[in-house]
């Protein structure tokens, strides 16, 4: 069984490239298709940026990213110790609206849901935990 890899960073936008490089390295070691790689990187970008921007309104914090590929399924977990927040609880945007009727935001979490097979949120031991699964 593959060993889970762990990266812990300050929850800051400036660490986004490091987080995405960590994600890519795990996927590249398993011969992932370019499409699945891009989709997982994008999903992780959306979720990590949420943590960096909103998890710690009072100041500095951390984020931990855990990743593994098991039986051809990539599993990534993002953990933070910020305020409890379930990004999946928000209703999906109406993607059938015209350009004029649309707001310009709110698509990030919706994109995450459409790009992976499963995404799950739990708040446990004072931490937010989001887990993504995608078959490679």
């Amino acid at each position: 069984m593959a060993a889970e890899q762990v990266l812990r960073v300050p929850a800051q936008l400036s660490c986004m490239d490091e987080v995405l490089a960590f994600v890519s390295a795990i996927l590249d070691a398993h011969g992932c298709t370019p499409q699945a790689r891009t989709q997982l990187r994008m999903a992780m970008e959306e979720l990590y940026v949420n943590i960096a921007n909103y998890a710690y309104p009072a100041g500095d914090g951390w984020a931990e990213i855990r990743g593994v590929v098991e039986d051809g399924v990539a599993i990534f977990t993002l953990i933070d110790g910020g305020m409890p927040f379930d990004p999946l609880a928000k209703p999906d945007p109406d993607v059938l609206l015209s350009g004029e009727e649309r707001g310009i935001g709110g698509l990030g979490i919706y994109m995450v849901k459409s790009m992976v097979d499963a995404v799950e949120y739990v708040y446990r031991d004072g931490c937010n935990r989001l887990t993504l699964r995608k078959k490679l």
Binding site: R41, E45, E46, V95, L107, Y110, M111, M115
Partner: protein, 99 residues
């Protein structure tokens, strides 16, 4: 991200190279803010950019609205497979003109 401008009368083409993500979307936004005056036709060329996250979509939607308000048009060209997936998933393939 590398952005290259090409101006021809009131037509502007911007070639994007790299990933349009949370960190680079402000670069595109800043370039367009300063370059859109008097532009009637904006083309964004994605031949060398096939990664567009929601931060990039926000800039595209804001720019689309701005062009529309100025009675101009915006189109996306050379859209790759991954970017097209994103556009289809978000319904934006029906909003933007795609060449």
């Amino acid at each position: 991200m590398l952005l290259t401008k090409e101006k021809n009368g009131n037509e502007l083409t911007v070639h994007l190279s790299g990933e349009l993500n949370t960190l680079t979307a402000p670069e595109l936004s800043a370039l367009l803010d300063s370059a859109l005056k008097d532009v009637q036709r904006l083309t964004l060329d994605f031949a060398a950019c096939d990664y567009v996250s929601s931060a990039g979509l926000r800039v595209l939607l804001a720019t689309f609205k701005q062009m529309k308000a100025a009675k101009g048009t915006m189109c996306l060209s050379h859209v790759g497979e991954n970017f097209m997936d994103v556009l289809q998933n978000t319904g934006l393939d029906a909003v933007f003109e795609i060449q």
